[in-house]
């Protein structure tokens, strides 16, 4: 290590953050959380020892920041190899690439995320709007203080939950540990830190954005699915009627001038193609949204 040995816990954590600066931000958050738990426990278990000498001995047991960073990097690679299902092999042909999307579990989970995002978007938006107005209204009274703390805590909890959803459904690595801001500071400073932490603001922005985004995702997914499925079902119905199997009594109109025996299969094909297009759309939305969530929920606080 080319820097001086850390003398306080925040210095140690800063050194660890520097060592991990090119790692995935979600990994950084997990590593910092684990280190903080260990360091604070060690400090609590040895009352009376000064922080600097304690940290010197921790470099031997827990590891110095550089070693810890190396361990987390290595483990992340091993876990990623062991736990992730391998992506399907890329197909060279254009039709293979187009239809192969149906085998990509990521496209299906992203489609489900699009449908779910309306509900989560409403919850997030309502929480932030209610919290901001309550806080603003009560700010001048003493009861405003616990309300602010509860509200910011709730925003962080919701960001963690959203992070878990995004990682499970969109495949973007997100933190597994909540954001933790240093203890041991006076109350007022901790409350001030909540307001100066850019991640508090960007998490709220994300949660506000989730309502319009959720509406757009939900509408796009539902429209795409219903149009495609409607075309397939209409095609099947028209075909069955043309073959004389069922009689819809004129309720199914395929193409006014075309022979239903020709038009119905064409409609079904268009519907099936539409389903694949919807899956492609879901996968693309999933990628974009994962990047947005990473940016607003994780990255902003790590410089």
């Amino acid at each position: 290590m080319n820097t001086a040995a850390p003398r306080t816990i925040p210095e140690y954590l800063d050194a660890l953050r520097r060592e991990l600066r090119d790692a995935d931000p979600a990994l950084v958050q997990d590593a910092l959380y684990d280190a903080e738990e260990y360091l604070r426990s060690e400090l609590a278990a040895n009352p009376g020892t000064d922080e600097a000498s304690l940290l010197a001995s921790i470099a031997g047991s827990y590891g110095d920041p550089a070693e810890v960073a190396a361990i987390y990097r290595d483990t992340e690679v091993q876990v990623a190899q062991a736990l992730r299902t391998p992506p399907p092999p890329p197909r060279a042909s254009l039709p293979g690439r187009f239809f192969g999307v149906a085998l990509d579990s990521r496209a299906w989970t992203a489609l489900f995320y699009m449908l779910l995002s309306l509900a989560t978007g409403i919850v997030y938006f309502t929480t932030v709007v209610t919290g901001v107005s309550l806080t603003a209204g009560l700010a001048l009274m003493i009861i405003g203080v616990p309300v602010v703390i509860l509200f910011v805590g709730l925003v962080r909890l919701l960001s963690l939950v959203e992070g878990r959803l995004v990682e499970a459904m969109l495949g973007e690595r997100m933190p597994r540990r909540p954001l933790y801001v240093g203890r041991g500071q006076p109350w007022l400073e901790r409350i001030a830190a909540m307001f100066t932490d850019p991640r508090t603001w960007s998490a709220m922005l994300y949660q506000l954005l989730m309502l319009p985004l959720g509406i757009a995702y939900f509408t796009a997914a539902i429209t795409g699915l219903s149009v495609s499925l409607g075309l397939v079902a209409g095609g099947v119905g028209a075909l069955l009627e043309a073959l004389g199997v069922v009689d819809f009594e004129g309720a199914v109109h395929v193409w006014p001038f075309a022979n239903p025996l020709v038009a119905a299969p064409v409609l079904m094909m268009v519907g099936v193609l539409g389903l694949f297009v919807v899956l492609h759309l879901a996968r693309a939305v999933g990628r974009l949204h994962g990047a947005l969530a990473k940016q607003l929920l994780v990255k902003t606080a790590q410089h």
Partner: protein
């Protein structure tokens, strides 16, 4: 010493990568109550050097993996000294897996010992 040192380090690293899950699962199995990361690290420290020169920070990602694999389950409790602690407890699946790992470890140890002591025919 310096020229064999890197070889020793590499060997220890590989050994510990293979055994650390077994050791952690055994610690969880022997404990009657859920344990958090720091407690587990301190228990291992008492037994000497089960991590083979490795650092205790390596435990945390492994604990998370055990939990993700369903061998241990975990819950969070607030703590007065620092961030909320994640407590781990072995699951029924973990108990069964540990029994299998133990047998596999015994077999490996016996055959490695047999080779090292030259008891081959």
């Amino acid at each position: 010493m310096t020229d064999i040192d890197p070889h020793l380090k590499k060997f220890q690293k590989e050994l510990s990568a293979g055994t650390v899950s077994l050791v952690l699962l055994a610690v969880l199995a022997q404990s009657g109550e859920p344990l958090y990361g720091y407690q587990i690290a301190k228990r291992l420290e008492q037994t000497g050097d089960p991590l083979l020169g490795g650092k205790q920070s390596a435990l945390y990602p492994v604990l998370r993996n055990l939990s993700a694999a369903g061998l241990a389950d975990s819950h969070v409790e607030p703590s007065v000294s620092g961030p909320p602690r994640r407590y781990y407890r072995i699951t029924a699946l973990g108990q069964r897996v540990l029994a299998e790992w133990r047998m596999s470890w015994e077999t490996t140890r016996q055959s490695v010992d047999a080779v090292l002591e030259g008891n081959l025919r």
